[in-house]
């Protein structure tokens, strides 16, 4: 920048002003005592910690203003540690601020860039080295080396192959099959339409073969919500209407956005809401998305009753449940 824009001369560092402890021995002595007291308080904190750790039972609760009922063991141990640390810090900072020299000193910077000669020497050395290796003159070596080094990275990737199985068709499949009975979760009891009153909602799972345990990855795809409303309230096309039974409609509970459990059902509006990202689905219109980031309705499970009157799946889910993925057919 040009000089005329530098309007005022730098007056230089302000004159150093002595602190009281710099000149007055009594003030210095007082500061010394203060630092010592702070360090001693740290010791008190350590004692509080040791006492609380060994002698306060962890089921003792005390009442404190503001904090309310608090576990005394946890409080004593924690506040003890906090005090023992804090007061060392306070002491050290107070010591530095009152008794250590507070005269600012000046150091000088050097420019980051090296001397011109060193820079030229470096270039010369690098050129010499490269010339000695002869890479420029022997392109065959250079090219094969680059190719080999690139290929040598492949094993690092391929070695990770067995981290997991290939997806195959598994994302499109659930445990629901034609005739699978709907059972309560928890409880695993088969249910009849009469178990659900109008306005009721229930979480169901596909019935398991006896003695089998449900895996988390099955729950993550199989969970279904059963909702009963008045049949006249449905606004469905004939096919979807035939998937319901006496006003009972079944949807995948796994959000079509990011897979959270769509757990909030608003009885008055008949909306299902996902608590993660607030996608809202209209139960009366086959879980059409009416708000939020989800792009697809919740998949509907076709249900009916079997000869014994228990609710069963009429057919498997007609589409993949849960969040979207690249290979998903829509």
């Amino acid at each position: 920048m040009s000089k005329e824009l530098e309007p005022l001369a730098d007056p230089g560092l302000p004159v150093h002003v002595n602190r009281k402890a710099d000149t007055d021995p009594i003030a210095a002595k007082r500061a010394e005592r203060q630092v010592a007291i702070l360090f001693s308080l740290s010791g008190v904190g350590t004692l509080l910690f040791i006492y609380s750790f060994f002698f306060i039972k962890d089921d003792v609760f005390i009442f404190l203003p503001i904090m309310g009922t608090t576990n005394a063991h946890q409080l004593g141990v924690g506040v003890g540690v906090a005090m023992s640390l804090l007061f060392i810090g306070f002491g050290a900072v107070h010591w530095a601020k009152t008794l250590m020299p507070d005269q600012e000193v000046i150091a000088y910077r050097h420019e980051m860039r090296s001397e011109e000669k060193d820079r030229q020497d470096l270039v010369a050395t690098a050129k010499e080295g490269a010339a000695a290796a002869g890479l420029g003159r022997r392109p065959l070596i250079k090219r094969t080396l680059v190719a080999a080094a690139g290929l040598a990275g492949l094993p690092a990737v391929i070695l990770l192959r067995d981290l997991g199985p290939l997806p195959g068709n598994s994302l499109n499949e659930t445990s629901w099959a034609r005739g699978t009975r709907l059972v309560t979760d928890p409880g695993d009891r088969p249910i009849k339409p009469s178990d659900l009153e109008v306005g009721a909602v229930a979480q169901v799972m596909p019935e398991l073969a006896p003695g089998k345990k449900r895996k988390l990855e099955d729950i993550a795809k199989d969970a279904v919500l059963l909702i009963r409303i008045r049949p006249s309230e449905f606004q469905l096309d004939p096919e979807r209407l035939s998937w319901t039974h006496e006003g009972i409609i079944a949807f995948s509970k796994i959000c079509s956005h990011m897979g959270c459990a769509v757990a909030l059902y608003e009885q008055t509006t008949k909306h299902l809401l996902c608590p993660c990202h607030q996608s809202t689905f209209d139960v009366t219109r086959a879980a059409k998305v009416i708000f939020g980031p989800s792009a697809r309705p919740l998949p509907q499970l076709a249900i009916t009753v079997n000869s014994e009157g228990y609710l069963i799946a009429k057919q498997p889910f007609s589409e993949a449940v849960g969040p979207s993925f690249w290979e998903r057919k829509s």
């Binding site: 920048m1 005329e4 824009l5 530098e6 309007p7 005022l8 730098d10 007056p11 230089g12 560092l13 302000p14 750790f53 904090m67 946890q74 409080l75 141990v77 924690g78 506040v79 540690v81 906090a82 640390l85 804090l86 007061f87 810090g89 050290a92 900072v93 507070d102 600012e104 000193v105 150091a107 910077r109 192959r161 981290l163 997991g164 997806p167 598994s170 988390l216 990855e217 729950i219 969970a223 509970k253 956005h257 990011m258 897979g259 959270c260 459990a261 608590p275 993660c276 607030q278 708000f291 939020g292 980031p293 989800s294 792009a295 969040p323 979207s324 993925f325 690249w326 290979e327 829509s330």
Partner: protein
């Protein structure tokens, strides 16, 4: 010579004879550090990291990173006989049956929040004061890497207890991985060892959380600090402070005592929070199962903006030739964060290109003196804050009795409208502050003392600023815009036509300033021309 001095001498001699370090040690013990409260922000991040290492090591003695099914038998009665993973059971064990375990868990979690907050605020300080400029661009990039790693590390950390809340977070991360076009499904199957949730992700993220990322952290932090050391710290402008010097206190003893003491203070405050402020009470959430969820699910604050972006994304997917592209996940979950972090990392180079300034800078800027950068910074922060607010939209709706749909629409519109508005307002505020500085230098400080002159006129007494203050308000440079060269004197068009025009436009915007008082103006006033 006292006995203590003799011992010190012997030790120094012993070390020097084996390392030859005397000269280097002497120089570095006298290393000068400028003093300013805002330089402590990075220190807080560093100390929080040390606290995280210490408390995390403690937790690892009891934590069992396994998804083996167990039945809970510990002393927390409400979950007695409940089936859960060994990870969750051991996290409960640490909380209820290891003395000091809950304290350490809470210290670890608080330290993580403070770590991320300190990094974010430290980064703002570096940005708004221009400390990232040449020669410190590498260190800025290291800082962006540390911030990014910190977000990942924090997320993996709070996913480990395998409670209902953390499992929900993992579910969302899984959906983001799965949404990647072409190979996302494969990636998610490799990461989770099969379908979600599987039985391997806890041990896998555990080793990444306790070994891989902390190792990278240690390496990057070391490089970050070595660069600060080698390049010497920047300093705020003021009398006696120039581009060629560093004014401050020597490492030994003042800085050692202050920084060492400050470590204990940060640790003490974190311990105090861990003692009195409950954080992540995992026992209330219960074990994770994919079919359940708790209302008001929230990530930790440094992930909140990401969740807020996901929540406000429009419901948009493309179906092409039997394949699905989920823009509603890709855009807020990967593309926008990618653009933001790349932009942050490249900003030093972008600014240097916009202003044409390629020189070294060791004196910091006052934010008002660089209105364009300050406005860009506030603009970006506004974007993040709107996203963060939307990340808590369900809680805001329930706490303040608002409609969640309205908050969502406020965010969707606000995230586009508010940042540019923030830019314009910030730039105007900066220019007004420059005007105020100019006033103060030329006419002094308003004292609020009113005086009636003999002829009845009222005037306010203005007090002339000290020479130090005047210098501090006028020492900065005011860059000139780069002149646009469309064609050379032979009439040949500039081959960098569009780029040159853009650069000229940006540099004109950067050069928009209130002219600071010139030497002539100040002299005129000093010669007794008070009005």
């Amino acid at each position: 010579m006292t006995a203590r001095e003799r011992v010190a001498g012997t030790v120094a001699n012993y070390v020097d004879e084996r390392t030859g370090a005397a000269k280097w040690m002497k120089k570095n013990l006298q290393k000068v550090f400028p003093d300013h409260w805002s330089f402590m922000l990075g220190e807080i991040a560093l100390y929080s990291f040390v606290i995280l290492l210490l408390s995390g090591t403690f937790l690892s003695f009891w934590f069992d990173p396994s998804m083996r099914h167990v039945t809970y038998e510990g002393s927390y009665q409400p979950l007695k006989d409940v089936e859960m993973s060994a990870a969750y059971a051991s996290a409960l064990h640490i909380s209820f049956d290891v003395r000091g375990g809950l304290l350490m868990r809470q210290i670890h979690h608080w330290a993580a929040l403070i770590f991320m907050a300190a990094i974010a605020v430290h980064m703002m300080r570096v940005f708004f004061t221009g400390a990232f400029r040449k020669p410190r661009e590498f260190n800025w990039i290291l800082g962006v890497a540390l911030l990014t790693l910190g977000i990942v590390e924090g997320f993996l950390g709070y996913s480990l207890p395998d409670d209902l809340l953390s499992g929900t977070g993992v579910r969302i991360a899984h959906a983001i991985i799965q949404s990647i076009p072409v190979f996302g499904t494969y990636l998610s199957f490799f990461a989770f060892g099969g379908a979600f949730p599987g039985e391997v992700f806890i041990p896998r993220i555990y080793i990444v959380h306790v070994l891989l990322i902390p190792g990278i952290f240690l390496a990057l932090i070391t490089a970050h600090l070595m660069l600060v050391w080698y390049q010497k710290h920047t300093q705020y402008p003021g009398p006696g402070r120039t581009e060629k010097n560093v004014v401050g206190y020597p490492l030994m003893p003042v800085y050692m005592a202050k920084a060492g003491g400050f470590f204990f203070i940060v640790f003490g405050i974190t311990a105090f929070l861990g003692a009195v402020a409950s954080i992540n009470p995992i026992w209330l959430y219960g074990p994770y199962t994919p079919a359940q969820i708790s209302a008001g699910s929230q990530p930790d604050w440094y992930m909140g903006w990401l969740d807020g972006l996901v929540r406000m994304a429009p419901p948009f997917e493309t179906y092409l030739f039997g394949y699905t592209i989920s823009w509603n996940i890709l855009l807020p979950g990967l593309i926008i964060p990618g653009v933001i972090f790349t932009g942050i990392a490249l900003y030093p180079f972008i600014e240097s290109w916009m202003t044409g300034d390629k020189r070294e800078h060791h004196l910091l800027d006052r934010p008002r003196n660089v209105p364009n950068r300050t406005a860009l910074g506030v603009m970006s922060l506004t974007f993040m804050v709107v996203a963060l607010i939307n990340g808590g939209n369900d809680l805001i709706a329930t706490h303040f009795d608002l409609s969640i749909n309205q908050i969502m629409w406020f965010s969707r519109i606000g995230i586009i409208v508010l940042p540019p508005l923030a830019f314009v307002i910030t730039k105007r505020i900066c220019l007004s502050l420059q005007r105020a500085d100019r006033e103060a230098v030329l006419h002094g400080r308003e004292t609020g003392r009113l005086v009636m002159l003999p002829h009845g006129e009222f005037i306010e007494i203005h007090e002339e600023l000290s020479a130090e203050k005047k210098f501090a308000l006028t020492q900065h440079e005011q860059p000139k815009a780069i002149a646009l060269v469309t064609e050379d004197n032979q009439g040949v068009l500039n081959p960098k036509g569009l780029r040159a025009r853009l650069q000229a436009r940006f540099s004109a915007a950067s050069a928009e300033n209130i002219a600071k008082p010139t030497a002539a103006e100040v002299k005129e006033l000093e010669s007794g021309h008070h009005s």
